[in-house]
Symmetry: C2
Subunit: 341 residues, 2 copies
């Protein structure tokens, strides 16, 4: 309705100076009790709300954190929820920007957030992102930065991430244990650290067991159900087809699963399948899909905590690296034998 009341209004009405009002409002010690009460009462009555812009301009901080993420899928929106929770509690407002897995959008978003004078930025890079000049710009402006989930070692900043290698190991060891010998992997985009790490776990495990690594069994494709579907169809037409597939996301696992069923193969008998993320959907499709879980909510919270610690301590934490452990959930798609204890 009418313009918001300001400190000046209160001062004028009470015939005192704005500084006194300001002090009273903030409960400074050096203000007479009755003055303070009068100010408080009037402030209440006028529904006074401090103008954050004015304060931000003065203090040079907005109490806003920018978050850049590639999309709002199950895992990331869970992470955002975690970030939001901690940030809110610490008095920060979160500004979420989706890049839609587009490098261009990521640039725009970075610029937007920088323009908005956020106090800091938390980022998980898009699958298209191969260069990091825009991220450097954040550092150049001396704006606190934390990288999470989709990290990249070229980025000089504290990292919070999953032990993706371990995730790859868990999945692969499990498949081997179940007697699968020819394990293919649908890895994500090549430039993505999470792809490479998960694949590293896969490769390490094969090597450890003295198994030959077949180039044909390693397929890079987007985090996308359709691509995974096509890639799997391809895999299954090979003369010497894989007897198990590890996909580094559940959406890809779904695509793979569709292709497998279409081909008339049964899981886990004819072929094993393990996904990644442990999304709810893995429990709903038939057969259920085994999947490597990452503690997304926890990861969001930890990221925000680290971020806030960095804001407060002002110390260099660029070498900080928090690594969370994944956990394998075994379901029908890969369980041939009841697990030996």
């Amino acid at each position: 309705m009418e313009k918001q009341a300001t400190i000046i209004d209160i001062a004028r009405t009470l015939n005192i100076s704005t500084s006194t009002v300001s002090r009273a409002l903030r409960n400074t010690f050096d203000v007479k009790a009755e003055t303070r009460e009068a100010v408080m009462a009037l402030a209440e009555k006028l529904n006074y709300q401090p103008n954050r812009l004015a304060i931000s301009l003065l203090k040079r901080q907005t109490h806003t954190i920018g978050v850049i993420i590639p999309n709002l899928d199950f895992v990331l929106s869970t992470m955002v929820k975690g970030i939001d929770e901690v940030a809110l509690e610490a008095g920060y407002t979160v500004m979420v920007c989706q890049s839609n897995e587009s490098f261009g959008r990521e640039l725009v978003n970075t610029k937007r957030l920088l323009d908005s004078l956020v106090d800091g930025i938390i980022v998980s890079v898009s699958s298209e992102t191969k260069v990091f000049e825009h991220i450097k710009k954040i550092k150049d402006r001396n704006i606190p930065l934390v990288v999470f989930d989709r990290v990249n070692k070229e980025i000089v900043a504290p990292h919070v991430q999953l032990d993706n290698v371990e995730g790859g190991v868990l999945a692969t060891e499990h498949l081997l244990e179940q007697g699968y010998q020819k394990i293919a992997i649908l890895a994500g985009p090549q430039n993505l650290d999470i792809s490479n790490k998960r694949m590293e776990g896969y490769l390490n495990t094969l090597k450890k067991h003295g198994l030959r690594i077949k180039k044909d069994f390693i397929i890079h494709c987007d985090f996308n159900q359709d691509y995974a579907y096509e890639a799997t169809k391809e895999l299954l037409t090979m003369k010497n087809r894989p007897d198990a597939i590890f996909t580094i996301s559940d959406r890809m696992a779904i695509g793979a699963s569709l292709a497998i069923k279409e081909k008339g193969l049964r899981m886990p008998t004819d072929i094993g399948l393990v996904g990644f993320n442990n999304e709810p959907i893995t429990k709903l499709v038939t057969p259920n899909i085994s999947s490597v879980e990452q503690p997304a909510f926890e990861m969001g919270k930890i990221t925000a905590k680290l971020f806030i610690e960095m804001m407060n301590s002002k110390k260099d934490m660029n070498n900080e690296e928090i690594i969370l452990k994944p956990k394998l959930f075994i379901r029908e798609s890969s369980l041939r034998f009841t697990k030996k204890v």
Copy 2:
């Protein structure tokens, strides 16, 4: 690194006044070409970025839109994507707050956004929200408001929503057409407009066909897979159990589907099922679940467009009401007979 360059820095270096710099930067007509070039060059060199806080403080607008939503599920995150797209193009930044279906959180978020001096707010209420004082506060502050998706007629503001009655009709007509006679409904929370409207469509259709409405077949429960599962189990133990279930969300449909399968009943033979939202998961479970689609992305875009129109025109649009049409996708869970043309 160092402090951001300001107009004052440029002015001092060039030995001209800040007003001239300001004008040059904004391409006003009344500045000498060479002055402007000098300013531009220096601005470029210093990587000058206007301080949005200062401008916002002066102009009393932040170019930020607050969006309050109950969660980030498939439908809502798609809508947010639509809002974001249009808003970005119009020069607005979007601040998304999730209430987690909690009324308390919704209050906090509203306050946060108001404090952040957003230029306007777009809201979809939580399932707990029964009173709308906080929404009125937005109006009292004279801040443009648009309500979308989960609307409520108590809120005086332009509405963008689905024709939820029609959605209920589509689902129910289809089930009847497939020969189901005893149709139950898992409706959502009672205070939610979308629940009531979808149920209204269901009721209207039954009446239209002269069918008796059984109270026992109308179940209100949260938008939640587990509740739906329990409710369905309950329904199926009735002596005269329903032969079809219409759930007003897909997550509920999933829950129902699990209960149905557990009971050893087959879809669509023994029992029919139709969900709502047309989430990807409906195509992935077995059997596929029929579902009523709402054009979520479109709805987000339209909401943002309406919002921006309102911002620009400054006219009263409180009676504006945009209603989008749903579309039924028929799948295995309810298709007994091939559809007659």
